[in-house]
Symmetry: C2
Subunit: 91 residues, 2 copies
DNA sequence: CAGATAATTAGCTAAGTATCTAATTTTAAG
DNA sequence: CTTAAAATTAGATACTTAGCTAATTATCTG
């Protein structure tokens, strides 16, 4: 879970995730949309992959990335927990 | 919103938030629970405060910190958006 | 296999951050 | 006003990370 939060801490990576909401994209398609180098974007994608926020699948010469919505759900549940007081009312 | 995600990226800060789920705590009470120095915890609290994840209120010699659940809700809604596909089904 | 395209990895640098100790502020009590 | 307790801020250092260029891997095509 630490990797997830660390991955979400970078604005470029959050933009990548936002882009992927529209559907799977190849590494190159994603890199085209950002001012950074392809290599830099590739590194970001690696971090998102390690955090399991995206899934990667090679398709010939291309690598296709897509959102892993399951992990998002987990993060949301994690945070929702924090909006409620803890079980024991020991405040 | 960037400050919020950056604040959540640190495990110590997430632990502090978890602790505050049980109710408001003073700076000293929080610092006691962690191996780091009081100064370090104070700095973490400042970051959480800047991100609006916690609210601080001075009470005599003490400063009382409490969760700002409103901001948590916002983060959750932010993430929930990402679990659904974007409006235009242009995948 | 050779060449081209897609993508990642390696190595480096600059900027950011977590932590510590020491100094400073703030409030309360004698 | 002086001392003490609570908390933050300042300054320094070690570590991490985002970004670049260059090199490398992987796949396809002729």
């Amino acid at each position: 879970m630490n990797a997830v939060f660390r991955a979400l801490a970078d604005p470029t990576r959050r933009e990548i995730l936002k882009l992927l909401r529209a559907g799977p994209r190849t590494s190159g398609e994603i890199a085209d949309r950002f001012p950074s180098t392809w290599a830099t974007i590739s590194r970001h994608l690696g971090i998102l992959r390690d955090a399991n926020l995206v899934l990667a699948e090679r398709d010939g010469q291309n690598v296709r990335y897509e959102l892993n919505t399951t992990v998002f759900q987990e993060v949301v549940e994690h945070l929702l927990d924090w909006t409620k007081p803890a079980r024991r009312p020991n405040a």
